[in-house]
C-alpha cells in the first residue's frame, strides 16, 4: 500500500474534555467543570514525531487518552485517515487499536506482574486474533522483542516483569505495542521514571522505530530538554490549549510565546560555564476549574499587559510551520 509521507492522517479539531469537579449533589445543579482539554486542534503526519510539552495539569495526558479512544471527548472531532473516529464504540474501534498504540509513563505499573513477557506481548495478538498458527505468533513476538532492542529475544520470553529493570520493562511495553504493527504510537512520558543513563536508550529506540517502521510518534513530556533530539515538531500546551506549535527548530530556537521561552530557559544545562539567566514563572499552573479570562497565561506572564486580561489571543501564524497564541506577536 502506498503511504504518502506527509499526508495528514491524524487530525483533531477543537477537541475538548471537561470533567465534573466533585460529585453531583441534589442542591447544586450547576456543577463546576475541570477544563482538562479546552479546544485543541492539531495534525499529525505519517512517521512524524510530534512532541507535546507542558506542565502537569495542562491536559496533555488527557489529550493522549482521547486520541487512543480511552477518554470520550466532550466536544470536537478526531479524524484518522480522513475518517471521524471521535465517538466509535469499542467494537468499531478494534481495528483502529491495531494502528494506534500507547506507551505509558510508568513501566513498573504498565505491566501486569502476573504475566510473563511472552504473555504480555502475545496478548494483543490473541485479542485481535492475529496469526494463523502458534508458530506465526511466536515469530511475531520474537520480532517485536528484537525490534524493541531486547536481544536475544528468547531469553526474555519466560521472565516476569519484576525480573526486569526499568529500561527493559519500558522496552517490553514498546514491544507489546509494536507487535500489532501500529502506525502511531502515543508515548506518555515514557522516560520520566527512568534513570538518566537509561533514558537515552528508550528515546533512541523510538527514534529508530520511526525510521525503520515508519511509525508516527506523539511524544508527551514535561521536559522540553528531552524532545530536542528527535521530535519533528513540538506543541506546547498550557491549561488545556496549545499555545505554540512549530518544528523543533522553530520552537527551540525561535520561541514566540513567553511561556515557551520560560520553559526553555529553565532547562538545566549540564555545563557550569553556560549558567544563564532563567525566566522563572511565579506560582504554579492554575486550577483548570477556573480558567482566567482573556489570555489564560496572563496571571503568570512576565510580559503581560492590560489587553491580555481582556482578549483571548488566537493562534497566529509566525511562519508556514510555526504558530503561537500571544498578543505580543508581530502580526
Amino acid at each position: 500500500m502506498k503511504k504518502p509521507a506527509n499526508a495528514k492522517f491524524l487530525e483533531t479539531r477543537g477537541l475538548k474534555k471537561y470533567f465534573d469537579a466533585g460529585k453531583r449533589w441534589i442542591f447544586s445543579p450547576n456543577i463546576k467543570k475541570v477544563h482538562a482539554v479546552d479546544g485543541v486542534s492539531l495534525t499529525l503526519r505519517r512517521s512524524e514525531v510530534l512532541a507535546l510539552v507542558g506542565e502537569s495539569g495542562c491536559g496533555k495526558t488527557t489529550l493522549g487518552l482521547m486520541l487512543m479512544g480511552l477518554e470520550e471527548p466532550t466536544d470536537g472531532t478526531i479524524f484518522f485517515e480522513g475518517r471521524d473516529i471521535t465517538h466509535l464504540a469499542d467494537h468499531e474501534r478494534k481495528d483502529l487499536r491495531r494502528k494506534i498504540q500507547m506507551v505509558f509513563q510508568d513501566p513498573y505499573e504498565s505491566l501486569n506482574p502476573t504475566q510473563t513477557v511472552k504473555e504480555i506481548i502475545s496478548e494483543p495478538l490473541h485479542v485481535h486474533n492475529i496469526g494463523e498458527s502458534q508458530q506465526e505468533r511466536d515469530e511475531r513476538v520474537i520480532k517485536a522483542l528484537e525490534d524493541a532492542g531486547l536481544k536475544p529475544a528468547d531469553t526474555y520470553l519466560t521472565r516476569f516483569p519484576h525480573e526486569l529493570s526499568g529500561g527493559q520493562r519500558q522496552r517490553v511495553v514498546i514491544a507489546a505495542a509494536l507487535v500489532l504493527e501500529p502506525e502511531i504510537i502515543v508515548a506518555d512520558e515514557p522516560v520520566s521514571m527512568l534513570d538518566v543513563s537509561i533514558r537515552a536508550e528508550v528515546i533512541n529506540l523510538l527514534a529508530e522505530l520511526r525510521i525503520s517502521r515508519q511509525i508516527a510518534v506523539i511524544f508527551i513530556t514535561h521536559d522540553l530538554g528531552s524532545v530536542g533530539f528527535f521530535a519533528d515538531r513540538v506543541a506546547v500546551m498550557y491549561l488545556g490549549r496549545i499555545v505554540e506549535i512549530g518544528t523543533m527548530l522553530d520552537v527551540l530556537e525561535r520561541p514566540q510565546h513567553p511561556y515557551t521561552k520560560a520553559l526553555l530557559s529553565v532547562i538545566p544545562v549540564p555545563n557550569p560555564r553556560l549558567r544563564h539567566e532563567r525566566i522563572i514563572l511565579k506560582g504554579e499552573t492554575p486550577n483548570p476549574v477556573e480558567i482566567p479570562p482573556g489570555c489564560r497565561f496572563h496571571p503568570r506572564c512576565p510580559v503581560a499587559f492590560d489587553a491580555c486580561r481582556l482578549s483571548d489571543p488566537p493562534m497566529t501564524t509566525v511562519s508556514k510551520t510555526h504558530q503561537a497564541a500571544c498578543l505580543l506577536m508581530p502580526k
Partner: protein
C-alpha cells in the same frame, strides 16, 4: 534498591509464580506455623477412620455408667453425655467443622468476590447498588437473619453452611472491590484497553489474577469465621444436632451439664479443636498477608545497629570545613545473606557556605550516605567504618539524646517527596512550630505563629496557608514548606535529598532558585543530592559522583563537567540531553547498575565501562587524587596528575 538482573547472566528456567510465592511465604514464621497446624487438622480429618479408636457411631451398649467417664485407657479423652468416646468424636468432628468452614467460606467468597469484582470493575449503578447493599448487610445483625433463615429452612448442615456463607460475604465484597479498584486504576489495565482488549478479557486476564491473592487471604479468614460461627449457632441452639461438629459437641456438653459433673474434657477438647483450627487459619492468613502485602519489617523507630569499626581519626580538619565525612562505609545487614555494601569508603567535606552536589543513579547509596550523617539509618543499616565530624565533633559516636540536639538545630534535611515527609493530619504551621519549640523550648509561645509566618514568607508561601494541611498544598508548595521547616531552627547545614525529583521543570526551577537564594542570604552550607546532572551544573561548587556505593569522581564543578576523568562521569554526561547541542544522538550506558548485595569483583563499573581492561575485573581501584583536589576512583587515573 530495585531488583535488577545483570543482562549478561545466563538464564536458567525461571521459577513459576508458585515457587516465588512459596519462597516468600517460607520466611513468614507465623504463616508456616499456621500451615503446619492446619495441615495437621486436615490430616486428622482426612484419616479420621484410621486415627479414631472407635467407629463413628453411637455405642449401642451404652449404659448409665458410661456417661461422662473421665479419661482412661479405653477412652483417652473420656466419654461424653451419651457415653461416646470424646476422642473419636473429636477426630470425626474435625471433618464436619472443616467441611462447614470450607464450604461456607467458599459460598461467601464466591458471592463476595463476584459482588466486589462487579462493583469495582464496572462501577456506575452496579457499584452503587452493590456497595449500598453491602453497607446495609453490614449493619444488619446476623443473628435474627440466621434465626429466620434456619426457621424457614431446617437446621441441617447444608442450610447452616448456606446461612453462614451468605451472611459472610460483605467483608469480602468490600475488600475485593477496593482491590479491584486499585488494580483497575493501574496502568496495565489501561494498556490492555489500548490494545483493544474487551472487558471480559481484562477482567479475567488482568484483574482476576491480581485479586486472587486477596481472595485467598479472605477465604482463609472466612473459613475460620465460619467455624466460629457454626459453634456460636450451635450454642444458641440453631445448629444441626445430627452433624457431629465440634460446635455440636460443645452444644451437648453445655446443654447436658458437662461442667456440672466436672466433665471438663467434654468441653475443653472440642473447644481446643476450634481454637486450634481458627488459630491455624488466622496465623496462615497473617502469613499470606505478609507475603502479598509485604510491609517493611522495619520501621523508623526501631533501634539502629551500633556503629562498628575505626575510632576517631587523626588530623583535625581545616577550620572552614563544617561537615567532614571520613572514609565512611555503610552496610545493610540481611540475616543469612551477605550484607549489601551500600556505601564504601566515601569521604567528603563541606565548607561553610558551599553547595556540594551529590550525583548518582538510583540505588547508588546517595540517600543512605545522607541518612547516616544524622544517625537516621534504618535498623538494618550499620556504619561499619568511618566518621562524620560536625565542627570537629564525631556524630557517629553520639547517642540518640546527644544527636537529637544536633538534628535540625544544626543540620536539617529536606526530604525527597515532601508529601510523605509531612504528617498528613497536622497542619503545616503546626509542624514547623513543633521544630522551633523542640530545639528552643524557651521560645515565647505567642511569638511562634509570627516566626512560622516569617519562615513561610521566606519560601514564598502566604502565612494564611499555615493552618492548612499538607494535602491542601500543591507539590511545589509542599516542597517549599519542607524547606521552611528545614530552616526553622537556623541550621548551619541543610541536606537537600532530591528535593525536585517529582516536580515539573518550572517548579523545579523555582525551588532551585529559592534554595540558592536562601543559601546566599542565610549563609547555609548545603549538600544537594540529585540524579540530575544539569541541576548540579547550575548550582554547585563541588560535585561528588557516586557509582554503586563508591566515589567515582569528586571535584569542583567545572572540573567535573569539562575535564571528567572517570569513564562513568563521561558516559553520564554524554547521556544527558543538552539543548545547546540539539539533534545530537544521545548515547546511553549499556547495562544496569550493580546490585549492592552482589557486587562484581574489581571495579564496580567495569561491566558497563567502555574503557574496561583486565585489571578492572580483578582489582578495585583506589581513589586517586589529581590536581585541584580532583579525586577519581579509576585505574586509568593512576599516576596522572
Amino acid at each position: 534498591m530495585q531488583t535488577t538482573l545483570q543482562s549478561s547472566t545466563t538464564f536458567s528456567r525461571p521459577e513459576s509464580g508458585f515457587t516465588v510465592f512459596w519462597r516468600a511465604f517460607r520466611k513468614s514464621r507465623t504463616g508456616l506455623v499456621g500451615l503446619i497446624m492446619l495441615a495437621i487438622a486436615i490430616f486428622v480429618a482426612l484419616f479420621a477412620p484410621a486415627i479414631a479408636p472407635y467407629e463413628n457411631a453411637a455405642a449401642t451398649s451404652v449404659g448409665i455408667a458410661d456417661i461422662y467417664q473421665p479419661p482412661s485407657a479405653a477412652h483417652i479423652l473420656g466419654t461424653d453425655d451419651a457415653g461416646q468416646d470424646v476422642f473419636t468424636n473429636f477426630i470425626f468432628g474435625a471433618r464436619v467443622s472443616l467441611t462447614v468452614g470450607f464450604f461456607a467460606a467458599f459460598i461467601s467468597i464466591f458471592i463476595g468476590g463476584i459482588f466486589g469484582l462487579v462493583a469495582g470493575f464496572f462501577g456506575g449503578r452496579w457499584e452503587t447498588f452493590l456497595m449500598r447493599l453491602t453497607d446495609v448487610m453490614l449493619v444488619i445483625p446476623d443473628l435474627p437473619l440466621t434465626v429466620v433463615i434456619v426457621a424457614l429452612t431446617k437446621p441441617s448442615l447444608m442450610n447452616i453452611i448456606f446461612v453462614i456463607g451468605i451472611l459472610g460475604w460483605t467483608t469480602t465484597a468490600r475488600v475485593v472491590r477496593s482491590q479491584t479498584l486499585a488494580v483497575k486504576s493501574r496502568k496495565f489495565v489501561l494498556r490492555a484497553r489500548a490494545i483493544g482488549a474487551g472487558r471480559l478479557h481484562i477482567l479475567t486476564r488482568h484483574v482476576l489474577p491480581l485479586v486472587m491473592p486477596i481472595l485467598v487471604v479472605q477465604a482463609v479468614l472466612a473459613i475460620s469465621l465460619a467455624i466460629l460461627n457454626e459453634s456460636t449457632l450451635s450454642f444458641i441452639g440453631l445448629g444441626d444436632p445430627t452433624a457431629p461438629s465440634w460446635g455440636q459437641m460443645l452444644n451437648f456438653a453445655f446443654g447436658r451439664g458437662a461442667m456440672s459433673v466436672g466433665a471438663w474434657w467434654a468441653l475443653v477438647v472440642p473447644g481446643f479443636g476450634i481454637v486450634w483450627v481458627v488459630l491455624s487459619l488466622t496465623l496462615l492468613g497473617q502469613g499470606l498477608e505478609q507475603v502479598l502485602n509485604p510491609r517493611l519489617d522495619t520501621h523508623h523507630l526501631m533501634p539502629g545497629r551500633p556503629k562498628v569499626g575505626t575510632e576517631a581519626q587523626a588530623a583535625h580538619p581545616a577550620r572552614d570545613i563544617i561537615l567532614d565525612v571520613r572514609n565512611i562505609s555503610i552496610h545493610y545487614i540481611n540475616e543469612g545473606k551477605p550484607p549489601a555494601r551500600a556505601v564504601e569508603n566515601v569521604s567528603l567535606s563541606l565548607r561553610e557556605g558551599d553547595l556540594l552536589g551529590l550525583v548518582g543513579e538510583s540505588g547508588c547509596g546517595k540517600t543512605t550516605l545522607m541518612l547516616s550523617l544524622l544517625n537516621l539509618l534504618p535498623a538494618a543499616g550499620q556504619v561499619v567504618n568511618g566518621n562524620v565530624y560536625y565542627k570537629g565533633r564525631d556524630l557517629t559516636a553520639m547517642n540518640e539524646d546527644e544527636i537529637n540536639n544536633i538534628r535540625w538545630s544544626r543540620i536539617s534535611i529536606i526530604f525527597q517527596g515532601a508529601m510523605n515527609a509531612l504528617n498528613p493530619v497536622r497542619t503545616v504551621g503546626d509542624q514547623i512550630a513543633e521544630a522551633i519549640l523542640k530545639h528552643n523550648p524557651a521560645f515565647p509561645k505567642n511569638k511562634v505563629p509570627e516566626r512560622v509566618a516569617e519562615l513561610l514568607d521566606l519560601v514564598g508561601i502566604a502565612s494564611a496557608h499555615s493552618d492548612h494541611f499538607p494535602h491542601q498544598y500543591s507539590g511545589g508548595m509542599r516542597q517549599r514548606a519542607m524547606i521552611a521547616m528545614a530552616l526553622a531552627c537556623n541550621p548551619d547545614v541543610v541536606i537537600a535529598d532530591e528535593p525536585t525529583t517529582a516536580l515539573d521543570v518550572m517548579i523545579q526551577a523555582q525551588i532551585l532558585e529559592l534554595l540558592d537564594e536562601l543559601r546566599k542570604k542565610l549563609g547555609l552550607s548545603v549538600i544537594f543530592v540529585t540524579h540530575d546532572l544539569g541541576v548540579v551544573a547550575e548550582l554547585c561548587d563541588r560535585v561528588l559522583v557516586m557509582y554503586g556505593g563508591v566515589t567515582a569522581e569528586y571535584a569542583g564543578v567545572d572540573t567535573i563537567y569539562n575535564e571528567p576523568k572517570h569513564p562513568y562521569t563521561q558516559e553520564l554526561l554524554k547521556a544527558f540531553p543538552d539543548l545547546t547541542k540539539p539533534k545530537k544522538k544521545l548515547s546511553s550506558i549499556p547495562g544496569y547498575p550493580p546490585r549492592l548485595d552482589d557486587l562484581p569483583a574489581g571495579c564496580r563499573f567495569a561491566p558497563r565501562c567502555p574503557a574496561v581492561f583486565d585489571r578492572c575485573q580483578m582489582e578495585e581501584p583506589g581513589l586517586h587524587v589529581l590536581k585541584n583536589d580532583h579525586h577519581v576512583g579509576c585505574h586509568l587515573a593512576e599516576g596522572s596528575k
